[in-house]
Symmetry: C2
Subunit: 652 residues, 2 copies
């Protein structure tokens, strides 16, 4: 499927990438819009399924101006609109007659949704809502697809009915004329300007000066204002959203693996090609320059990241499986409960929802950990390419810049750790009351609690199972430490944020290690991979685990999970040996990710190794700056004295 | 002085920054060239000294097309040219009649200078050199100012005389016509294309197809080919360069402080303005949203970096002082030796050169450590600004992108650590033979060696002196460990690179801690600062030291420098208390760096706190994308249906 879609994309001129790295923002945005339009037309022409369309978008690999229409606007209407609203707005959105965005974040408010300042005031006389931005800081900001593209917005605003505020609710608001595409009266809208990356997207701002929308424009599946009584009515809580967020975060975890894999592929291939210096201890007959990937200082940077790509992929996949299984089970429970009025026993329902609660909390921590690993790992890959990593042609820098916001959106990576800690504290309190575990988190906490006075002895260098147990032990230790600080010592929440951050990280690292290990032991992997490949995957598991353990050495030591000697051996012996063992397979392992050269768009990461030829071709043949002849002398006011083909014309 | 020059720059239209963040590469390069020219004219008009000119360049704060002419081309001629060559090439370069660059790095060779492929073959018949690029990988690459601007290059090429290679030597080569500025025959030159940053500079490539230059074009102060005998002659070694490199690296250390200070200033000011969420434990009367800087999770990211800005500044300054004093002393020694034929005693000369050797090695490690702290610290600052940190208007992203190559040039930060380790191993071997110290490195190694069997007991939480001693102990411990691996266990060099990296980091951290501490105890600081300020500086020292110690906890523990309990207390108690104590002074401390708003060019870092007004103004008034009205519908082939003021015209 991937190959077929790739062939279609490659044959369309609009997807030609050769000017991507050279173009300024205007050209890049214009081209991105053209590509988005073409993707829609191709989708219709080839009758792509949603999955096929997503594959195509992923292959194009750049954020585009329809992005938030596709993801958030349509999904919000589908999830929070009534059937009538879905008919009216959803259908038009599906046909791209209205193009929307999701306007939540404000200039002054990001993470704290409760603090949003935009208001939607109910007018009982004419049964409308007045949408208003009372201050400059109430301006919607960062809203993807809003800057230039959208003509509708789903606006999150504080609902006010008869002087009382009911918190943020979603409103569908037209913002631009359907014909002229000019902003409507009393709507101030525009693009927020250039960013560190993501410049193919028109993130926008939006201010309302008392704009009225009809009653039907408040998405009313879960709550509404009764137009007859003027009362606020709640139809139940949007618990689905709870699940959706968990799903979105699981996707981020899995994506983090492939996002990082691009950088690791480029850096590994290049470091296998690039030769520099001689090995000081090499025998006489090998006195040529050494491939950079043979240096342990390069291996220690790249190979644990290679291991991380698989660890994150398997973890994300594991979470998604667990989520789906659990959804299925809960649906069954619901069905059986409906058919049998006495219903399922409490332990069954509890179990289902406890697993969902566990998944929700762990997805927060894992989102933070995995996107941090991917973002920071990409920069490590870029630097491992030496000077050439700094060239746009490396392909890593632009990719990194576009990925970076993932560390902030869907929950800021630092903020999220509080949710994980809160959940772990709650679980620990539950275990102290009743040690019978209801999910994996209470299982490890309960086990720790039962053994804490006896202590532990993990053979981290000899047993893979013990590695997993050591990670569980350290996370549990930190949980009960934090509990002591909060519940016994009554420390202020703010004083514990740093501890919570560490705790969340420790628990999430445990989850990645555990998921990776579970996959390697599963029947599925035994069927789908050859024994030699499984051996290598096991070594990747060990490398990822021991390298992480060694980086966090003092926490493992303090918790008693490892001895000083074990940590020293992990570093100086076990990790170094694993690097040696994995090195010969490194290139094949990155190849297994299967990135096409067209997708990577990188001189350094070319599969055929023609690194320098490609760098040279792009610089000397494609680079528009080389069409310019300057006047270099300070006394001359002339800057560009000659420009081949003229200067400043559109590149399109 | 700074204020006076700043006023001049602000009054010149060419230095207007308002379009910097919006422009594409062509416009940015064009504007940068215009600014460089104007700076030269201003320098002449105001008769600026070199220092004044440098201040002006720093205030403009962007890399420019004359950059490598000023720094490397002119300096190389001055340092390695004969008086005749200085007269001929140096004078013309000073007058900007010839504009040069320094062409060393090649497409296939960066760090390994010995491996360069460009050749300069001596022709005994016509007394010329033939400069040639035998392969594509021999292409000069990354050469600043070469792409479009320079008409001359100082080319490093392998000197070949009568079939024998004598290693890389510098040759002055004309590459473009002085009138037309077109490349000369058999010279292939151009810009290497866009980069992660530094796009106002025209880094270039350069290939020679057997280009002849006369005998006088080989810079001949230290070695030459005798035109009569055709023999290679050496006039002594360029030991000055050894000193120059040390000087350059000291500059990088000091600059790292101010580079990082920009990011810390922006982030600290913004986090003091930005309010988000309530403090969960705040009393009822303080229920408004809390300034982000009050959250410990923000403090732990920013305040140790604030401390690092001072630590790096003082360390760089300390190194430069030491270097200058030592140069002075060596000159005196030389003079006295000349006047007194029997000369100074060996301990005196030894001492002088041992301090220089020490400075050279430590400058390698400190360059690596400080530029890594600054580069990674800037990214931490950017993220601490939340979502808005991603906007170019934060001013941090562009600054970070431009700074990043510092981690690679003047010695790749990973490569450099080998030189430090090599030096430390040598010093440790010397100490084992003769424990009498000759400089600070041998002093701490010797002290460690005398105490290693007795052990140590440092009161890191009670005594600042003991903190410094603990850092010395850990660095010494790692040195002797590495020595054991290399000399006793005969481990291959390649297997030890990771240990060497850690060793270099440990030793460099010790040096920063020690320098910071020494400055705080010096008479100079007592005279120039008030007692309350000194108290705060001391707290910054403690924060930087204990935070670093806690980050590297396991090494301190393993070396025996600290107990498990001390490391835990450092983290949970000492560091958290210091954050609390420093927080009220944070804004004043960043203000003391004295960055003008014009210099920072940041919405978030504005001194007057008008963060949101400025963001909004830039987005809605300055942003050229908002002049575009798009046609958003997929069926329409029109992309931009209206562009106010036309599209694609030069912004100049």
């Amino acid at each position: 499927r991937k190959q077929r879609i790739l062939a279609i994309l490659k044959s369309e001129k609009v997807f030609d990438k050769s000017q991507n790295y050279f173009s300024g923002r205007m050209e890049r945005f214009e081209r991105a819009l053209a590509r988005e339009k073409k993707l829609q037309l191709l989708k219709r022409k080839h009758k792509w399924t949603l999955d096929e369309f997503r594959t195509a978008s992923e292959l194009v690999g750049e954020p585009g101006p329809y992005g938030l229409h596709e993801s958030m606007f349509r999904i919000t209407i589908a999830g929070q609109g009534t059937p009538e609203q879905q008919e009216k707005f959803g259908k038009a959105a599906e046909a791209y007659k209205i193009i929307g965005c999701y306007a939540q974040t404000e200039l002054g408010h990001g993470s704290n949704v409760r603090g949003l300042e935009t208001t939607a005031t109910w007018n009982s006389q004419d049964k409308t809502f007045t949408i208003h931005s009372p201050h400059l800081t109430a301006s919607k900001w960062w809203i993807g697809s809003l800057g230039r593209t959208a003509n509708y917005a789903c606006v999150m605003a504080q609902l006010i009915v008869e002087g009382k505020s009911y918190g943020p609710h979603p409103f569908i608001v037209q913002i631009r004329d359907m014909k002229t595409h000019e902003p409507l009266e009393n709507v101030h809208v525009g693009d927020i300007g250039p960013k560190f990356g993501y410049n193919t997207m028109d993130n926008g701002f939006l201010l309302f000066n008392n704009v009225k929308v009809p009653h039907e424009n408040m998405l009313a599946r879960f709550s509404q204002v009764d137009p007859k009584t003027n009362k606020y009515v709640r139809h139940g809580s949007p618990s689905l959203i709870y699940g959706t967020l968990t799903w979105v975060r699981s996707t981020i975890v899995m994506q983090a693996g492939s996002v990082l894999a691009r950088g690791v592929t480029i850096a590994t291939r290049y470091c296998a090609i690039r030769r520099q210096f001689q090995d000081r201890d090499a025998p006489e007959w090998e006195k040529g320059e050494n491939a950079v990937l043979n240096y342990t200082m390069v291996q220690i940077r790249l190979l644990p990241l290679l291991a991380a790509t698989f660890a994150l992929h398997f973890t994300g996949k594991g979470m998604m499986n667990l989520y789906q299984e659990n959804q299925k089970r809960m649906n069954q429970t619901n069905t059986s409960r409906e058919s049998n009025k006495r219903g399922a026993g409490p332990e069954e329902t509890e179990s289902g929802s406890d697993i969902l609660a566990d998944l929700h909390a762990t997805s927060c921590g894992l989102k933070a950990l995995s996107s941090t690993i991917a973002a920071e790992g990409l920069e490590v890959c870029r630097r491992a390419c030496g000077g050439h990593g700094y060239s746009s042609f490396s392909g890593i820098g632009p990719w990194y810049s576009d990925y970076l916001p993932t560390t902030t959106w869907e929950g800021d990576n630092y903020m999220l750790t509080q949710q994980v800690a809160r959940y772990l504290l709650k679980s620990a309190r539950a275990v102290l009351k009743n040690p019978t575990p209801t999910n994996d988190t209470t299982r490890i906490l309960s086990h720790f609690q039962s053994r804490v006075n006896i202590g532990c002895a993990f053979d981290i260098l000899g047993s893979d199972e013990d590695i997993v147990a050591a990670f569980a032990w350290r996370a549990s230790f930190l949980t009960f430490e934090a509990l002591k600080h909060r519940d016994e010592q009554k420390k202020p929440w703010n004083d514990l944020l740093v501890d919570f951050y560490r705790l969340s990280k420790a628990h999430s690292q445990y989850l990645v290690i555990k998921n990776f290990y579970d996959v390697l032991r599963s029947g599925e992997i035994a069927q789908s991979t050859s024994p030699p490949l499984r051996t290598i995957l096991l070594k990747l598991f060990q490398l990822f685990a021991l390298h992480t353990l060694e980086q966090e050495g003092s926490e493992f030591y303090v918790s008693g999970a490892c001895s000083k000697h074990q940590i020293m051996l992990a570093r100086t012996s076990a990790v170094m040996n694993l690097l040696k063992e994995i090195r010969p397979h490194a290139v094949r392992l990155v190849d297994s990710w299967g990135f096409d050269d067209w997708v990577l768009d990188s001189s350094l990461g070319r599969e055929d190794g023609k690194v320098y030829e490609d760098m040279f071709y792009r610089a000397s043949e494609l680079n528009p700056l080389n069409k310019v002849t300057v006047d270099p002398y300070p006394e001359s006011e002339v800057l560009f004295k000659k420009v081949e083909g003229g200067y400043g014309k559109s590149k399109l």
